[in-house]
Each structure stands twice: as C-alpha cells, then as structure tokens.
Amino acid sequence: MSFNLKEYYSNLSKGDVILAYKGSITSELINDILEAVEKKLEEADADSKLRKKIYNVLVESLQNLFHHIEMAHEGIQEELDPKFGILVIIKDGEFYKVTTGNFVNAKRIKFLKEKIDKINTLSKDELKDMYKFILNHQKLSAKGGGGLGLVDIARKSGNKLEYDFYQYNDDYYFFNLTISV
C-alpha cells in the first residue's frame, strides 16, 4: 500500500503535542514557529539547557526543510501547498521529539540515507571532528545550506537520528526524520 499522508500526519500528532504544522515552509513561518515554541517551553518551565538544545535542533530542522524542500511535486496526487513540509513536536516522557516530514525525489534518497547512517555511527568526539572538518573545508551552497545541519542536530541532541522513507510512487518518497532531545 502506498503512503497515506493524512494517516501519517494524524498518527504523528498523537500524544502530548506541543506543535503540529503542515503546509508551506517559509521564512515567516519559521519565525512564527520559533516564537511560539519558545513561549511554550518557557511556560512548560523546561530547564534552560534543554530549552536551548530544543531551540537549536528546531532551527536546524526547519532551515533544512526550508533549504531542501522542493517547490512543486509533480505526480503527487495530494493538494499540497508549495514548499510543502510537516513539523510536529511532541513531549514523550522525558524527551521532546521533533519530527519533520517532506517529499523527496527518489534520486536523493541514497545520498540522504548514507549521510544519516554515517552520522549515526559516529561518537560524540567523531561528530565534533566531522563538524569542524566541514566547517573549515566546505563552502556554503547557493541554497545557504552548508552540509552541517544534520551533524549539528546529532551533536546537540546527543541521540541517533531516526528516519524512514515511505514510498509514495516511482519518483517520490516521503522522508520522515525524528530527533529526540
């Protein structure tokens, strides 16, 4: 059975939801989400160290989406806003879980999968070395991404990156990334 966006989103938004959004990922939206989440975390009285980590992971996750999501999705039979993405933050026991979701062209999957698998094998010190290497040796891409986002997310969260690719059709997969902080 192929991927069902509605079902996926409703399953994701279960439990103690801090924020759930689906639609266009724009610069203004990122501002609004950051502001809203910051307020909620303050109200929830989360420890300031944890709050900063969540905020950092959230900034990188949203900007990763912003820089990499595709403008339009040909052949996807859904009513999608341009630059469509999903963000859900839930509180699950001790953890805050930040999940992003977006359609990814089948051609990009291998690259993404290899990158995440590689990051997940690295220790704290190895992640630090990788971060420093990329920081010092790679130019910023025209999109503004520097290839550092996922490494930074792994460093700050201190946890493995959980991901899935759900096949939608021959050309597209839905990429789900969950970070526990």
């Binding site: 900034v59 910023l140 700050k156």
Partner: protein, 126 residues
Amino acid sequence: MEPINIESTPKTPSIKFIQEESVIEIKGRSIPENSIEFYKPLVDWLEEYARDPLKKTVVNIQLEYFNTSSSKCILDVFKKLEAIHKSKHDVAINWYYEEDDEDMLEAGEDYESIIRIPFKMIEIVD
C-alpha cells in the same frame, strides 16, 4: 573609516564597532536563512579595516544561538581577523556564553582550534 553599526533583529545579532574602546561587538541571535547576505557588510567592513587597523582590536562575541549557516560566516569573520593578527596587530577574541551552556562553550572551542588568535572563554553568570 565609518564605524559599522547594525541593529539586531529576532534572527540576526547587533554588530557594533566602538572605536574609543577598539572593540567590535557581535551580540544576540544569529539564525537567518541567508547568512551570507547578513554577514557580507561585516566581512566587507573588516576587509577595509584590515588596511589600517588599530594597534589592538578586541572582539566580543556574545551569541545566544547561531545556526550552522551562520557558523561558516562567523568563521569567515574570524579569518579576516586572523589576517589582521598575522600582520602584527593585536587581536583578541572574547567568546561569551551563558552559564552552563556547554554547547556554546564547545562552539567557541571549535573556533579556537581552527583560528590562530587568542580566545578567551567568558561565562556569563546571572
């Protein structure tokens, strides 16, 4: 030369040059989507400043958050400062971080290990 003076926004830090104290100050949050565009005026200003710098330049960096896109631009800023330091002018970087913010301390140490300028890590205690 004209001192640089940029006001902060929710996504970008303030940047100031205080000539009488020989201090460049970067303060706030640095999380713009397009960091190259934001940092270009500072990088250009430093290039100009490097032609005839003060005998000593102190750089105070007090960032609450910065994104990975800014991290590369901040490195570019440090590289400009490193060039000034190499030309036998004193440059010192004060890297401020909030109490217990180990991530920000570590970020400062990452730069310190890449850039050949003396760094001082300063914890801000409430």
